[in-house]
């Protein structure tokens, strides 16, 4: 007896050692994953937060009546056609009393975003009293200036590597000294669609595009997938044909998403002639992709409902369909919802199939219907990433932040639903 215990004790050393080793490997794995996560989050957030703010320059604008309205007609159309770029340049020049040549004034005018001339003309149309007067206004800086202000380390670069010339840098420093520079919330980013000018580009257009697309995806895939899942799991006879269907649905879930894009291109665009780049087509393609995911989630959550509940209902004389609809399905709903949201958040992050159906275009307007041309969040990030202008670097990272926020929100919702509605029995 004692002999036996000794042997057990001896073997215990080895057993405990392998357990410790296993724990260590597990911990190491988690640590590495965590480090990667921190690295990604740090690089994205440190870049992206810069795009949430943008630079404004205070300019004492002189609304020169000679330029705006030489005939003194106060006619809206004439005012709109006036050269407001010149007004901005002339007003900027007054900041710097030294003599500026023609080239200098061109460099100076590039301080202000091209959108501000339109802004001023609208302002004057509404406030005609200002013609011939001065007004201090904060104007949106151009992207190059904005990038330098946000990344001070770039000032130390050589002139040719920097986005602005030595002379422009000098002016910028002078503006900064005069406290005529401020950073404010980047409204364009949250309200506009894409633009060739980084300071005028926004995420809103693609956000709306993604929303419209996902709405179509949800409307198409959820009812069909739940019905298919319930049918296959609860009502269909188990035979070779349903087995075949089951295998194929599982395979479909593993098909690369770009294949669904090709399918959408071939059928929805080339055969059905639906509009290119439209959320309705994007939604249909993503619905195809999401269907198997929701079917599988539906089936597995139906499977996890104890059979005793079905027996109870059937034993009372409920039909098979009644037992499912009245008892089994309500218990499976949390699982189905969770699966659906996970599927939807996958669809939100999907870009490949959308490229295939043309949702990768340069779209300046925020879409308002399912048929408008539009992009989606991940595609917009891809578009910005592949644009040369330096100002898009921060925008790309900011787009990633917005996408991540929505993914986290959706996954959080899935967790919430699962915990809130899960019934115990």
């Amino acid at each position: 007896m004692t002999n036996n215990l000794d042997r057990v004790e001896l073997s215990l050393v080895g057993r405990k050692r392998s357990e410790r080793l296993f724990k260590f490997y597990g911990f190491l794995g988690i640590l590495i994953a965590f480090l990667f996560l921190i690295t990604i989050l740090y690089s994205v957030i440190s870049q992206g937060q810069k795009a949430f703010f943008t630079t404004f320059i205070k300019v004492n604008i002189f609304f020169d009546s000679e330029i705006i309205d030489p005939q003194n007609q106060r006619n809206d159309e004439d005012i709109r056609y006036a050269n407001f770029n010149k007004i901005i340049t002339e007003s900027l020049k007054k900041k710097f009393p030294e003599n500026l040549n023609k080239n200098d004034s061109k460099e100076l005018s590039s301080f202000i975003s091209s959108s501000e001339a339109d802004y001023l003309s609208e302002f004057v149309v509404k406030n005609k009293d200002y013609i011939g007067k001065y007004k201090n206004m904060w104007l949106l800086a151009s992207s190059n200036i904005d990038v330098i202000v946000k990344n001070p380390e770039m000032e130390d670069l050589d002139e040719e590597d920097r986005l602005i010339s030595d002379k422009q840098l000098g002016w910028l420093n002078q503006i900064r000294l005069n406290k005529e520079l401020k950073k404010e919330l980047n409204k364009n980013f949250f309200t506009k669609a894409d633009s060739t000018e980084p300071e005028q580009a926004g995420i809103w257009g693609s956000l709306v595009g993604s929303f419209l697309t996902l709405l179509i995806t949800l409307i198409l895939s959820f009812p069909v997938a739940v019905a298919a899942g319930v049918f296959l799991e609860e009502l269909a006879p188990k035979n070779k044909f349903t087995e075949f269907l089951e295998v194929n649905i599982n395979n479909l879930a593993a098909v690369p998403s770009i294949i669904f894009g090709l399918l959408g291109l071939a059928i929805f665009l080339n055969i059905m002639h639906l509009p290119r780049s439209a959320p309705i087509v994007g939604g249909m393609v993503l619905a195809l992709m999401t269907l198997p995911t929701i079917i599988i989630a539906t089936r597995s959550s139906l499977k996890s409902v104890p059979p005793s509940i079905r027996e109870a209902a059937i034993g009372l004389g409920a039909t098979r369909f009644q037992s499912v609809v009245d008892h089994v399905l309500p218990l499976a709903i949390p699982g189905i919802m969770t699966g659906t949201i996970i599927g939807m958040s996958r669809a939100l992050g999907e870009s490949a199939p959308l490229l295939m159906i043309g949702m990768v275009a340069f779209i300046v307007d925020v879409p308002t219907t399912f048929l408008d041309s539009s992009t989606a969040l991940p595609v917009q990030i891809y578009l910005w990433k592949s644009t040369a202008a330096r100002g898009f670097v921060e925008l790309t990272a900011a787009g990633v932040i917005v996408l991540l926020v929505f993914l986290i929100l959706m996954n959080g919702l899935a967790v919430f639903i699962r915990q809130k509605f899960e019934k115990k029995w």
């Binding site: 006879p237 188990k238 104890p306 005793s308 509940i309 079905r310 027996e311 109870a312 209902a313 059937i314 034993g315 009372l316 004389g317 409920a318 039909t319 098979r320 009644q322 009245d326 008892h327 218990l331 019934k423 115990k424 029995w425």
Partner: protein
């Protein structure tokens, strides 16, 4: 004893796939009496009871031969709708399985799907009556809208009985209804079975021979898919005619 026969089975064979689960079962079950089915695990008694309300229909690989006649009708003939049959032959399961809904909803579900109550008041009355008959009403009358799953095991099983009698079946099948309960809850259920036998034909599967002796008037002994012996309960337990029955009730097999 002039008994009316409620259920009779003729040459019933049951297969699960290729495996024969029951062989040549010929059994007559008298009306408004308690018949208990005893036998060791895997002897086919649960399979048999689940044939009586066609619960085995839900198992794809299950196949049944022979005739099961209830009130002069073969329940496996094509004209019989299994859903209608189950309204006539209720069932109480081994493990209490209330729906995860309120006590009221549990009992009201059967009458509701069958359209047995014309008004809400009638439904209330039916639910109350069923709970009274199942001996549960006094204990839970203040919390009738609380979840059925919050009751104790014995109360849950009585809730399941109340749910079954709410649709006024003629026959109640009980598949080891007390196997998950403590002795006190078991005693309450057994009393209830005595009471119910006045109005219902009851078939009960049990592992406990004492229980069979206490509650039933007729006992059938199953072994390895065969019906070995059937007779009056006192007779089976005192003077069984078969060696196997003798061995089982004295604890030599099982």
């Amino acid at each position: 004893m002039a008994e009316k026969i409620k259920i009779s089975t003729k040459k019933v064979n049951v297969f699960y796939g290729d495996k024969k689960a029951l062989e040549n079962i010929n059994l007559e079950i008298p009306e408004k009496k308690v018949t208990s089915l005893i036998g060791p695990s895997g002897c086919g008694k649960s399979t048999f009871i689940r044939c009586l309300n066609r619960m085995n229909d839900t198992i794809d690989i299950c196949r049944i031969e022979g005739k099961i006649i209830i009130d002069n009708e073969d329940i496996y003939s094509k004209e019989i709708d299994p859903v209608l049959l189950r309204a006539k032959v209720g069932m109480v399961f081994q493990k209490p399985n209330p729906f995860p809904k309120s006590i009221f909803e549990n009992v009201a579900y059967g009458p509701r799907i069958h359209g047995l109550a014309k008004s809400d008041d009638e439904l209330d009355e039916l639910v109350t009556q069923s709970l009274v008959k199942a001996g549960l009403f006094q204990e839970i009358k203040d919390r009738i809208h609380e979840p059925g799953t919050s009751l104790s095991g014995g109360q849950q099983q009585r809730l399941c009985i109340a749910r079954t009698i709410a649709i006024s079946p003629q026959i109640i099948l009980m598949d080891e209804p007390c196997s998950a309960l403590d002795p006190i809850a078991t005693a309450v259920i057994e009393e209830l079975i005595d009471e119910l036998a006045k109005n219902f034909t009851i078939v009960i599967v049990t592992h406990s021979m004492q229980q069979a002796a206490r509650v039933s008037q007729q006992t059938a002994f199953f072994h390895m898919g065969n019906l070995i012996e059937v007779g009056r309960t006192d007779q089976i337990f005192s003077t069984p005619s078969q060696k196997k029955t003798q061995d089982y009730i004295t604890g030599k097999i099982g």
